[in-house]
Symmetry: C2
């Protein structure tokens, strides 16, 4: 028996290319016989260290215009629904805290995928507690109760620790993938290479 | 008879991911029945407008460290020889001027590929006139004579005009590919999509 290798999938709910990666990683990993550990983190503190007060796609509008068109093409090629959100980037502190809390549950990854769909297909603002509660309720969970638990000091600290760990691993964007031997792959385009 | 579509291939000799793109584009375009127009330009003026005095891979060392490892993996997967140059980025004004002058010749693309090999495999500095003259001589050309011609006012203006055109087309990095209907694709990873 060979142990199943585990790939760390570092994602941020505000990250545009994390959306197709989150939708693809389950099936691709299964086909490659790789286990995936979903690692939510916040890009804000990492971007701040790089000198950016917001997404680089807003800091550099030429890159931003290109990214939206490229993401549209990428989603089209994958058959993924996509609609550019009115607000970008969105404040992802609350969904990231909820993800940190619930990813041990068997519906945790479903929650993450639903957040991405809500943001990049349905046009809702995932910073709003009612939006996140609705996603949780739709999964048959107690939305308000989970949101309250997600604000515990222990859970907040866990998310901060995850973000610190991302920085230490050399992560500067999302999605990022880290193999068991510490190889870093950045971008939805590198998912296949990371699984290999 | 259908007219062969032409893809514009915008490249900069200092650009690391332009190296695998330059090595791949000939064969892939032929297989896709697409003509390629090689468009040399300078990233310096474009980066300056974005506020970078040098390559973003030097401005943001975390991204730079990642890029060198990723480029190494990319070249390995393609079977391309690669050695990280001691100096990065290199001053590419002279080879870009020569490329602007000679790309109408049937050995023009060979010159460009040889420049990339000299920089990213052989460890030479392509800013040096002797290095460029040697590449031209190896192609059976008059190195010194061509270098002199490349410094003409008309040729210098042509390269400046190319760089202005790149900026107007929304290009912010290299390699970039522009289809006949103006769709922009950025990065060695997007070559296949651009040809499609």
């Amino acid at each position: 028996m060979t142990a199943t290798p585990t790939l760390d999938f570092w994602f941020e709910f505000a990250s545009t290319y994390s959306y197709p990666a989150a939708m693809r990683i389950g099936g691709l990993a299964k086909a490659s016989r790789v286990a995936v550990r979903w690692r939510p983190f916040l890009l804000g503190p990492i971007f701040k260290e790089l000198g950016w007060a917001t997404s680089p796609f807003n800091v550099y509008p030429t890159k931003g215009r290109y990214m939206w068109r490229d993401l549209e093409r990428t989603c089209e090629a994958l058959g993924l629904p996509f609609a550019k959100p009115a607000l970008f980037p969105q404040n992802t502190l609350l969904p990231a805290r909820v993800a940190t809390l619930v990813l041990g549950q068997d519906w945790g990854e479903d929650f993450c995928r639903a957040v991405y769909r809500t943001e990049f297909c349905d046009g809702h603002n995932i910073a709003e507690p009612e939006v996140i509660a609705q996603i949780l309720n739709n999964l048959g969970q107690d939305g308000d109760g989970i949101i309250q638990k997600a604000q515990s000091d222990a859970n907040k600290s866990q998310l901060r620790a995850n973000t610190d760990e991302a920085g230490k691993r050399g992560i500067f964007g999302a999605p990022s993938f880290v193999t068991p031997d510490g190889e870093l792959f950045w971008g939805n385009d590198r998912l296949e290479a990371a699984l290999e």
